[in-house]
């Protein structure tokens, strides 16, 4: 049976307004019965490719088929995941080991099996089988998955995949956090999977462990995916495998004859330790005839090249970052004093609010928008919300303008609504960049320096420092975690509802694990902070820096003052 996985011109980009292309026109065929490695640097798109194949990301263009069936079914306007196809693969996401849904290992395995509608008897058979395969004792069935050690949790997540007996395994960094024994077991599992005629696609950095197993290698770089020979692929990876490093060193020192090369037939493009040893032994016995130096130079992989490949990424990162931040001086979070920002906001908001006619509001809109131009980058993330608000204004104005008996449209009634909502919109727009222009710590310092006298009234103003910063750190984690859970619900529960949302039927199953996971996150954070020594000193608060009004603050206030004056002046002249 043809069960190959075909990607035909697939392109994927990030959702939202800030569209960034993650995968570009990918043409790939993954053959059944083969293990394909995905390699490439961090952020190259390996995880995106796996998630796209598993239907966890919408494709902008192109088609994905497994065997002869499409992954996405055309369904009215929205695409719908082909459930029949979805049941043929199992995907393990990065760090999926730390998100458990059930209270025991047994139920956790059953949760994965649920979409497959396996009867009870074969389910318990499968459970025993997969636990043995990944090397977990049967006694663990009644344990709470959260109480397992990190390595055991990794194995359990693999067991959950295997229990479904999928034709395809999609694994993202399966060796991360596994010890040597765990890695050997994983390799054995993959080999058995292949021997059964099934396929796997594995994204990994661990070439030492997995390249010897691979039948094919695909290099992912900047969203482009292409097939590569194993040997060429090595050069693309972030760090050269140990073997190649050793060979390069040996050759650079002319300590080894160059003819040792990868044995044909085995997966790894490097010789086994025994072969290298044999070559070295031969070389040592043949000394002092030193003819190898000239030959050594001809070699393709020299130490210099390896080092070059090593040092490149760091430089690249620095370059990318510095270019991204050049010219962003104005937008830095420590450019302005939060107090100056608050004053500016108050001034502009007052002058906008004070306007009452359509003309006046339009005028203040023009001036506010002009003032916002340098900060437009900070507003962009909110474009969706702004658009929705504009539509809302239009609808409200329209409804407000309709008059019944006789049915007519009354513009006189529209303007007051329009004025009120537009003023609110302007105030919101003015406030948006503020959040990005100050950090929680600087905000805290501003409050402290302005309201510090409150501590004489026994208001514990200084203990807010840590709390404020912690709360702001934690909020993004909450939403991030929810999105991860949504993804997981689709990956394991095979939900075919729209992505990024959790189907109602799974809500009850997810809510408690989500809360638990949040609590764990908080605990992890508390542990890490305690380990770093936070919260031990109980002395007087210390302030390493104080905010000072700078020239840029004065400039900002000056410009804002001119702006609001203009609004008032022109409004008075009108």
């Amino acid at each position: 049976m043809n069960n190959d996985w075909k990607l035909n011109g697939v392109s994927v980009s990030t959702g939202g307004t800030d569209k960034k292309q993650l995968l570009k026109d990918v043409h790939m065929t993954f053959k059944a019965g083969q293990i394909t490695l995905l390699i490439g640097r961090n952020g190259a798109g390996k995880s995106t490719l796996l998630e796209t194949m598993a239907g966890l990301r919408h494709v902008d263009e192109g088609a994905i088929t497994l065997g002869d069936a499409p992954l996405w079914l055309p369904n009215r306007r929205k695409q719908k995941l082909n459930r029949h196809v979805a049941l043929q693969y199992g995907i393990s996401l990065q760090s999926s080991e730390s998100q458990w849904f059930a209270s025991t290992v047994r139920e956790e395995l059953l949760y994965s099996l649920k979409p497959y509608k396996v009867d009870e008897e074969s389910a318990s058979k499968r459970k025993a089988k997969v636990l043995a395969e990944v090397g977990l004792p049967l006694e663990l069935l009644e344990r709470d998955p959260w109480t397992l050690s990190g390595g055991q949790q990794r194995r359990l997540s693999l067991a959950c995949l295997l229990a479904c007996e999928p034709d395809w395994l999609l694994l993202d960094e399966p060796t991360a956090g596994l010890d040597a024994v765990g890695i050997r077991r994983l390799c054995a599992v993959l080999e058995a999977h292949r021997a059964a005629g099934r396929g796997a696609v594995v994204a990994t950095h661990d070439l030492d462990a997995l390249l010897p197993l691979a039948d094919a290698v695909a290099v992912v770089s900047g969203g482009v995916v292409r097939e590569a020979a194993a040997a060429a692929a090595v050069a693309q990876s972030a760090a050269a495998p140990q073997a190649l490093r050793a060979l390069a060193e040996l050759r650079a020192e002319a300590a080894m004859p160059p003819q040792v090369s990868a044995p044909l037939g085995s997966g790894a493009p490097w010789p086994a330790p025994q072969e290298v040893a044999a070559a070295i032994a031969a070389e040592l016995h043949a000394r002092p005839r030193r003819e190898t130096e000239a030959e050594a130079e001809k070699l393709t992989l020299t130490r210099k090249e390896l080092q070059l490949a090593d040092s490149m990424p760091a430089d690249e990162i620095v370059k990318e970052l510095s270019s991204a931040h050049a010219g962003a001086e104005l937008l830095r979070s420590d450019k302005f004093d939060p107090r100056a920002l608050v004053i500016v906001y108050m001034m502009l908001a007052t002058s906008v609010l004070a306007q009452n006619s359509v003309l006046e509001v339009a005028l203040s809109a023009i001036i506010s928008l002009l003032l916002l131009i340098p900060f437009r980058k900070l507003i962009r993330p909110w474009m969706g919300a702004i658009r929705a608000y504009l539509i809302m204004i239009a609808i409200f104005s329209f409804i407000g303008g309709i008059a019944f008996g006789p049915l007519s449209f009354d513009w006189e009634k529209v303007w007051p609504i329009w004025i009120r909502f537009s003023k609110l919109l302007l105030i919101m727009l003015l406030g948006m960049p503020m959040l990005k222009l100050m950090t929680p710590l600087r905000l805290q310092r501003a409050i402290e320096q302005t309201l510090g006298w409150l501590k004489h009234l026994k208001v514990p103003i200084h203990s807010f420092a840590l709390i404020v910063t912690l709360i702001f750190r934690f909020i993004p984690l909450l939403t991030g975690e929810w999105e991860r859970f949504a993804k997981l619900a689709h990956a394991r529960g095979k939900a075919s509802s729209s992505l990024r949302t959790i189907p109602i039927s799974m809500f009850h199953a997810i809510l408690i694990p989500y809360v638990r996971s949040i609590l764990r996150l908080a605990e992890q954070m508390a542990d890490a902070l305690e380990a770093r020594g936070f919260g031990l000193a109980s002395r007087k608060p210390v302030y390493g820096f104080r905010l000072r009004f700078s020239r840029s603050d004065a400039k900002l206030i000056g410009i804002a003052a001119i702006g609001s004056l203009l609004i008032f002046l022109i409004a008075a002249l009108l």
Partner: protein, 292 residues
């Protein structure tokens, strides 16, 4: 006499000594037997040393790190001696752990280190200078005011390490800081910390990856809560007989570095390389120098 002098110098250099330390956390569930995470551990940490603590998942190496750092924990028994320098530091020694994001609380690296110093109650006048100096030391000077979210995992770990340097910690305790990083970030962090060690800082480096070993490291191998090896790499890799596969490294189920496997294979052909090579550079040098 000379021996005694040597001992005295070692004693003077001893930062921390743990004697017969056991850790048995209390259990909530009555049905379960309390299990010891550490059993009768004796170690000494000397000034300027690089100690690589190796152990498999769940072997107790993280607990060893916490006890060494002086973290308060339930169920710790035994004697802990700390020298003046450690005591002068007062509070517990900061530990950097696996998850890079978890311990970042500032919005920028600069803020993160400043908050850490402020929370530690350091002298306010020098905080900024010390924070910036520490960030420079770990090579994060140019990214000092960049938003934390734009940093890579490896860079976050360096920021956390900068925090430890800034508070003047006499010992860096790094608990698998490269475990969650990709190889390139991992080697970047390792190289930075190696450079810090070169400048005289004592490092306790906890890891599962033997390829992170370097010549001159002292190894603590932890297995099932006990220290099963304390010494240099030579002993860790040494086999009783050529081809015997009975080195501690193998017996404890660790994947030996490729170069070590080559060297073992050479041994069984009668070629003994010394010092025993476990990095690519060492192997090449040893082969070059080898004389029959």
């Amino acid at each position: 006499m000379g021996k005694r002098l040597g001992e005295k110098i070692l004693e003077a250099l001893c930062l921390i000594e743990l004697k017969e330390i056991s850790v048995t956390p209390p259990v909530m569930n009555e049905r379960l037997q309390p299990q010891s995470i550490l059993k009768d551990v004796n170690i000494r940490v000397h000034k300027g040393e690089w100690i690589t603590v190796i152990g498999r998942n769940g072997s107790g190496k993280s607990t060893l790190a916490k006890v060494t750092a002086g973290l308060r924990m339930a169920g710790v028994k035994g004697k802990q001696l700390r020298n003046k320098e450690i005591l002068a530091h007062g509070r517990q020694i900061p530990i950097v752990m696996q998850q890079p994001e978890a311990s970042m609380i500032g919005a920028t690296p600069w803020e993160d280190v400043v908050i850490m110093l402020e929370q530690n109650g350091e002298d306010a006048a020098t905080i900024i200078e010390r924070a910036e100096q520490a960030l420079k030391l770990v090579g994060m000077a140019s990214q000092m005011h960049q938003s934390i979210e734009t940093l890579s995992g490896g860079q976050m770990q360096l920021v956390a390490i900068a925090g430890c340097l800034a508070v003047g910690s006499p010992l860096l305790v790094l608990d698998e800081v490269t475990a969650m990083l990709d190889p390139e970030a991992a080697s970047f962090v390792l190289n930075q910390v190696r450079a810090l060690h070169q400048s005289g800082i004592t490092v306790l480096w906890i890891t599962q990856k033997l390829e992170e070993l370097r010549p001159g490291d002292r190894i603590f191998a932890v297995n099932e809560g006990s220290i099963v090896y304390d010494g240099e790499a030579d002993g860790w890799f040494s086999r009783s007989d050529a081809g015997a596969t009975d080195s501690l490294c193998e017996r404890l189920g660790f994947e030996a570095p490729y170069t070590a496997q080559v060297a073992w294979s050479l041994e069984s052909q009668g070629i003994k390389l010394r010092p025993f090579p476990f990095t690519a550079e060492m192997l090449a040098q040893a082969v070059k120098r080898y004389e029959q």
